[in-house]
Amino acid sequence: MAEVQQKDSGNKKGQQKKQTIRVDFTPMVDMNMLLITFFMFCTSLSKPQTMEIAMPPKKEDMDKIKQEDMPQLDKERAITLILDAGNAAFYYLGLPDYKNPQSLKVTDYSPEGIRKLLLGKNVEIVTQINELKEKLKSKQITQDEFKKQSAEIKKDVKNSPMVMIKPTDGASYKNLVDALDEMQICDIARYAIMDTTEMDRFVMQNWASKGALSAAAAKEGTLK
């Protein structure tokens, strides 16, 4: 595929014949194109992202931990997030209120939903972390320092919200990941995935029936 062109530039004696060697690269290009196509179909450019989560240990192991080391739930700071079927999400603040069906509020996974609520509750940490992020951007601190300092900030503040994520059996995996994602966006230091309890289900049914359950219970006098 390579051709040697000879140019006769006069027949002067003693002068070397000039040779230009041209190599035809067309087959090379063909082969490369084939390889590129192969790589485009058989590989993926984006390496998968991961989300690290740490679950609480099981109950028997929990009992071994000293009581004072256990995170104490502060009802002032608790937010319970219930993820229901059909991408619906609800939340209530503090302890469940059995009497007032309006205590359970509807929310969603959009920026106007959970995120707005949590950012509002977590202003102190969010502003500090944002300052750190600015510093990281302008290269005042390194990535490692950023990690260390943001961990410090999250540890320090005492009035950040504690979020309990309670997916119901109707929820999908996407809902769970979305909720966990919001925790990351809002820099929530303490959150846990929990099972829905009897109380949560009662509150939800009470909300759905617009307070019929609590009214009935009040009539029977079972509700304290």
Partner: protein, 241 residues
């Protein structure tokens, strides 16, 4: 009058520049991309803003499809062989060296271990007819031994209907994870060993809950959830399939 001479131009196009470009592109693709692992089920992972990349070595990936079938993959073939040997001891199922070799070559595995399973010619024939009739599922499964005796195209066809059982009566999933953890700890790789869950976005929560509670029983409380980057990150991948 002299004839007008039409100058003959050679049609030789210099492809050197073109070749340069393609080689450059090729290098780019080779360096930045990773090979897609062959998976029995196509899952689309939910999006997240998390930017942590997944490590490539010492990782156990748990693949969960929307129907709740569980599959697994380990990055090293030798690990797969070791884990299978431990499983075979525990369940009392003998594997031939060829079966072990074939098993280690599977990119993703996920079939139950069935005690006293036959893999002779008649059983294989029968299994193939059942697969063609779509009668093989998690309730009427094929065990590892019979699976390894099937031809490759039948393996591909049936694997997505199998999965590792993880119900309370027959929780083989726990054994697989537990054995792998044990192997990693005994070869001093326990600190780097990571478990990654790759589940479809539409998987119902109870399926995930069961897996999480199994992992909790094994004291595996830290693991990774594989997600795709939010905002078009997954659409590129999806469009290719």
């Amino acid at each position: 009058m002299p004839k007008v001479k039409v100058k003959r131009k050679s049609t030789f196009i210099d492809m050197t520049a073109m070749s340069d470009v393609t080689v450059l592109l090729l290098t780019f693709f080779m360096l930045t991309s990773t090979f897609i692992k062959k998976e029995p089920v196509q899952v689309s992972t939910p999006g997240s803003v998390s930017e942590i990349k997944i490590p490539e070595t010492d990782i156990m990936q748990i693949l969960i499809d929307p129907k709740g079938h569980i599959f697994m993959s380990l990055d090293k073939q030798t690990d797969k062989i070791e884990v299978l040997k431990k499983i075979s001891e525990k369940y009392g199922v003998e594997f031939t060296p060829k079966e072990i070799k074939d098993f280690s070559l599977l990119p993703t595995f996920g079939m139950p271990v069935i005690r006293g399973e036959n893999a002779d010619k008649a059983t294989v024939e029968k299994a193939i007819t059942l697969i063609n009739q779509n009668k093989i599922n998690e309730k009427n499964p094929i065990g590892v031994k019979l699976f390894m005796a099937l031809p490759t195209e039948m393996q591909d066809k049936v694997l997505k209907h199998l999965g590792i059982p993880n119900d309370s009566l027959n929780n083989q999933f726990k054994d697989w994870v537990g054995m792998t953890r044990h192997l990693m700890d005994s070869t001093n790789r326990g600190d780097n060993f990571k478990i990654a869950i790759k589940a479809d976005a539409m998987t119902p929560y109870p399926v995930i809950k069961q897996v999480m509670s199994d992992l909790r029983d094994l004291r595996e409380n830290r693991y990774n959830l594989i997600t795709s980057l939010k905002g078009g990150g997954s659409s590129f991948e999806e469009s290719k399939h």
